[in-house]
Symmetry: C2
Subunit: 104 residues, 2 copies
DNA sequence: TTGTTATATGAGTATATGATCATATATTAA
DNA sequence: TTAATATATGATCATATACTCATATAACAA
């Protein structure tokens, strides 16, 4: 079988490609990456992240929304404050393997 | 120590953040993601990829350049033909963990 | 040399996107 | 209820980017 036909045969559905590429795209911005790296060290609220990143809380909230849309982070309410954290262990794994790659 | 100070303390250098986010960004496009997924099944030349993706060879070449700039793929010449493949095992790991995440 | 094939690259264009600003929502306190 | 605090969201604008087209380069054949 030709290489092209093999690739077609083994290809995953476009829907999965789209979700996977969107996941990487969301991590592919310095601000959002700093957010998830920071959350890797423990949960933080929007105002924590705004102070850490030196950005408005609005800008942070917009980025948190995108991270949440891809299930990379989750939130927990405590009164008026929302604490964000990584959604699951896969996220930390993704970050660590990426780091290994860029550090080699 | 406050959560903000802890985050500042544990933060990795901006230079690493930039390289890491660029790496994810390069994977964060459906066309480029299809390319690396296809290369995960074996090396392919530019014309193979153009046929597989139904794109011009120019468009494919531009995307291969971006993938190569982030050391995600490498090339091997055989006469007039350049065969592309994944650069190292980290790339396949990144893809597999990403897939686990979107499939759960 | 000239011609052909395979790939690469610079410029241009249409679309996507990140930060800002203004406004809206939600929780708590008075 | 009203006010204050914390967060979310829609519109806007400036920048980034994926593809196309034209052209350039590289390897091989005649």
């Amino acid at each position: 079988m030709s290489r092209v036909n093999r690739a077609r045969d083994e290809a995953i559905p476009d829907q999965e490609i789209d979700r996977l590429s969107q996941t990487y795209k969301v991590l592919g911005d310095p601000t959002r990456l700093k957010i998830v790296m920071a959350l890797g060290g423990g949960e933080m609220c929007v105002c924590d992240l705004a102070a850490f990143l030196d950005l408005t809380e609005s800008a942070v909230s917009h980025q948190l929304r995108r991270l949440r849309d891809m299930s990379l982070i989750k939130k927990r309410r405590e009164g008026q404050i929302l604490f964000y954290s990584l959604d699951d262990d896969h996220v930390a794994d993704l970050l660590n393997i990426g780091l290994e790659h860029v550090r080699e």
